[in-house]
């Protein structure tokens, strides 16, 4: 799904896979406060996840989007 004019969803599109592919990351998502990176264990990801990312809008306007980390354990099909 392509993100709309919402900078948070644009950030999810732009940075989602990059964040997902970091060691220990189980998933990525978004809420009204910014991006959420869901991790297996906080100790595994360490400082590898940036606290914020920057996205550029249609007219070149840059928006800083906060990144939050949540520990959820390991995802498996159930």
């Amino acid at each position: 799904m392509t993100a709309s004019s919402d900078p948070i969803l644009r950030a999810l599109d732009q940075y989602g896979e990059q964040l997902q592919d970091l060691p220990g990351v189980q998933g990525v998502g978004a809420d009204s406060a910014g991006l959420v990176v869901y991790v297996e264990d906080a100790d595994v990801v360490g400082d590898s996840i940036p606290p914020e990312v920057t996205v550029r809008g249609e007219h070149g306007v840059e928006t800083v989007v906060a990144v939050r980390v949540e520990v959820i354990g390991t995802i498996t099909p159930e």
Partner: protein, 337 residues
């Protein structure tokens, strides 16, 4: 002395069941230690399955105004079958010289309420799986039908439940209960029709883990989901953070969760059709509080009005994840039966 109330009984229950795995009890004083130690042989006696506080009953009749600390047992044994310290006293003195009245109630064995058994008519929320996969047991989510074939009922669940994650060929038997729950060829209820293929290319290009099986025409079925009712579908119902959802599943029965993220993306490893395995990226999934367990995969997720909103398929130690039902319906060209 004032008559004892419920809080006195609950305090006594707390004291008597304190640190059951610890050889000594700390922090309750000498008198408290004595009471707790003396109670352990009977409060954890041979047939005891639980304890509680409720109204005292004599010959199944409530004694007005009299509470009791109740010891629940699988069956009442004759006194002669118990050692002296295993016999539940009629009352027990706790610190403060309070006499706590007791009661013994037989309730049989306590077992997890799971939907692992055989059900005829077939019901959503119960165990189902592929005959081709010993570990692929999950939940029969709902009865559906192709949009262009509304009179032919189908079973909806996950690909990893009905189709060995896309590896099982069409026509493979689907059994109820699933193999893990004892289902075999004699329990075949339908055959695999289609599983939504997984996309193993980089990115988040997969929307669902879903499959359908054609129901054997001889199999009676009831689309009513235990605990929820007959589901409906309204494409205008949107999932939102904070919204409650419910499902009935093979392992945990009817439970309620709360949506935490409606833009969730993740990658999981699935077997590839040509051999080996690969990463599959899912997008636009819905992450919820934890309200499921392994074996619940395939459960239909509904809002609290019974409207279908998703298909449960994965989870972690603290989260449960479903696919918006619209993706599933569109991918398989189906609707609720």
């Amino acid at each position: 002395m004032a008559p004892l109330d419920e809080s006195d009984y609950l305090g006594a229950l707390d004291l008597l069941t304190l640190d059951p795995d610890s050889p000594t009890v700390e922090g309750v004083g000498v008198e408290g230690q004595q009471v707790t130690s003396t109670a352990r042989p009977w409060i954890y006696g041979p047939t005891v399955v639980g304890t509680g506080v409720t109204v005292k009953r004599v010959q199944d009749t409530a004694v007005a105004g009299q509470l009791a600390l109740v010891v629940y047992v699988t069956e009442k044994l004759p006194q002669s079958a118990l050692s002296a310290d295993q016999r539940v006293p009629g009352s027990v003195k706790v610190p403060g010289d309070q006499a706590i009245v007791t009661d013994v109630v037989a309730i049989g064995d306590i077992v997890p309420e799971v939907n692992t058994g055989s059900t005829r008519p077939l019901l959503p929320g119960y165990s189902v799986g592929s005959i081709d996969d010993g570990t692929g047991t999950g939940t029969l989510g709902a009865f559906v039908a192709r949009v262009d074939e509304p009179g032919v009922p189908l079973i909806l669940s996950n690909s990893h439940v009905l189709a060995r994650s896309g590896l099982a060929p069409g026509g493979t038997n689907v059994v109820q209960p699933g193999k893990v729950d004892g289902g075999g060829t004699g329990e075949a209820v339908g055959t695999l029709v289609e599983a939504v293929p997984f996309d193993f290319t980089p990115g988040f290009n997969t929307l669902c883990d879903a499959a359908i099986a054609r129901l054997d025409p001889s199999q009676p079925f009831d689309p009513t989901i235990p605990g929820i009712g007959r589901p409906t579908y309204d494409p205008t119902v949107a999932c939102a953070v904070g919204m409650q959802v419910q499902k009935t599943g093979r392992t945990t029965g009817h439970t309620i969760g709360v949506i935490r993220d409606v833009h969730f993306r993740t990658k999981l490893t699935y077997p590839k059709p040509g051999g080996g395995s690969g990463s599959v990226g899912f997008s636009e999934q819905v992450l919820c509080s934890r309200y499921t367990a392994p074996g619940d995969s395939g459960s239909l997720v509904c809002d609290m009005s019974g409207r279908a909103v998703g298909l449960h398929w994965s989870g972690s130690q603290s989260a449960s994840i479903f696919t918006p039902i619209t993706f599933v319906f569109d991918a398989l060209r189906i609707q609720l039966a």
